[in-house]
Amino acid sequence: MNRKVLFQVFFVLVLLSLISSTALAGSTRQQSVVQGVTVYAEKGLNVSANYFSAYVWSMALSPIGTIGWTWWTVREYCPNDGSYPVNAQFGGDANYNDDSDYGASNHINYPCPGGQKQIQNLGTHDFKNGTNVWRPLVNYVEDY
């Protein structure tokens, strides 16, 4: 076996390892500073064959006045036919003088016609400290 073949095998192995270990879970995060405190707004998904989980997480490096989200929607979308077989809407949620607010929502994985599917984790986070406010829209969408 020559060196070229070895490198090709190596490249395929690396690709396979990345695909198999990251395809079914992921998250997105935004960061800001609210009156001197660093804060993070994160949403993520974990998708298995039969169920899927979505989470929303607002966090700060030290307690701030208000931390949470103003709205949160988790839904499954079928791109082939434009339908939503799962649609969960949650109201706002807030913790006060705290450094974290977290929510998780677990659902049955519905089949979409033709198999293509999109899971959407959507909503606006809420951070207030003194007179400073940060309300980012953070959406995480995964196709599979």
Binding site: T38, M59, G82
Partner: protein, 297 residues
């Protein structure tokens, strides 16, 4: 020779490191400067804490990774390919025009519905779905109307595609439509089972469904800690996905998810039954009305 061994060992080490890092969630996002202990929001007690990142993860992220038997996986792929070929050969798209795909969905859950849509309409626990699709001579989708109906026949959600635009009745959103082919609709779910078999063991059984000779593909997930679904009162410890294909025509006829609850009992939380009507000379008047609605937008 020595050099080849060194290259191989290096490649293996780098691969192992990449697998380890990606499984630890260390790609794709910055970690906070210090570890933050999250608090659980009331009503969401099902989080676990990732031991490496101290980051909360929903419980179903803790699916026990079962070993995938390569020989078994090969058998699954080969059988699915046979069914796929049979489906495409026996149900060819003979002419351009309208084709109808239907399903009936039953959810045995504790929640009164499967969620509230953006316009306030409920997704019922039992409903039917008609997907009318108009394909051109090359099998590419031109128009599409999906009607999700209550068992009393009321449309609670419609999805319409026309002129490259997709519209949903509950959100009013208009999106750019995606490319869909006739074969995607006929055998797309065969590919989904194939994908599942790559990451989770799938076993094959023979089955009889309403007198039809069928092949059953079953995958099982075991959770490291009980999983609290939004729509069930009791927690789930395991779940099983069952896909039944008709051996005569190669089409998927039934899909079920069976959950094992913490008390050991089992519940079929989802049953979807499929039927394919083939070519339909004209779409129904209801479908035509939805198309008119979108074409005016």
């Amino acid at each position: 020779m020595k050099r080849k061994i060194v290259i191989f060992v290096f490649a293996a080490a780098v691969t192992a490191m990449l697998i380890f890092l990606s499984q630890q969630g260390m790609f794709g996002q910055a970690q906070p400067d210090q570890v933050i202990k999250p608090q659980t929001t009331a009503g969401y007690e099902n989080l676990t804490l990732d031991p490496t990142t101290h980051k909360p993860v929903p419980a179903n992220a803790t699916v026990q990774p079962p070993p995938v038997d390569e020989a078994q996986q090969l058998g699954v792929s080969s059988l699915l390919n046979d069914l796929k070929q049979k489906a495409l050969t026996l149900q060819p798209m003979n002419q351009p025009g309208w084709y109808l795909f239907e399903s009936e969905v039953i959810s045995d859950i504790d929640a009164p519905n499967n969620g509230i849509l953006a316009n306030g309409a409920e997704i019922p626990t039992h409903y039917t779905q008609e997907t009318w699709m108009n394909f051109d001579a090359q099998g590419r989708l031109i128009q599409q109307v999906t009607l999700m109906k209550t068992m009393e026949g009321q449309v609670f959600q419609a999805g319409v595609t026309s002129d490259g635009k997709g519209w949903n009745s509950t959100t009013g959103e208009i999106r750019e439509s995606i490319e869909v082919n006739f074969s995607d609709m006929l055998v797309g779910l065969h590919d989904q089972v194939m994908d599942i078999s790559q990451v989770s063991p799938v076993v094959i059984n023979h089955d009889w469904l309403d007198g039809q000779d069928a092949t059953l593909f079953v995958n099982q997930e075991i959770y490291q800690q009980p999983l609290k679904l939004d729509v069930l009162d009791e927690e789930v410890t395991q779940s099983m996905g069952r896909y039944s294909f008709n051996n005569e025509n190669g089409l998927l006829v039934k899909y079920e998810i069976i959950s094992t609850l913490v008390d050991g009992s089992q519940r079929t939380v989802l049953t979807t039954e499929y039927s394919y009507s083939g070519y339909i000379p004209e779409p129904s008047a209801e479908v035509a009305a939805y198309l008119d609605k979108v074409e005016g937008k």
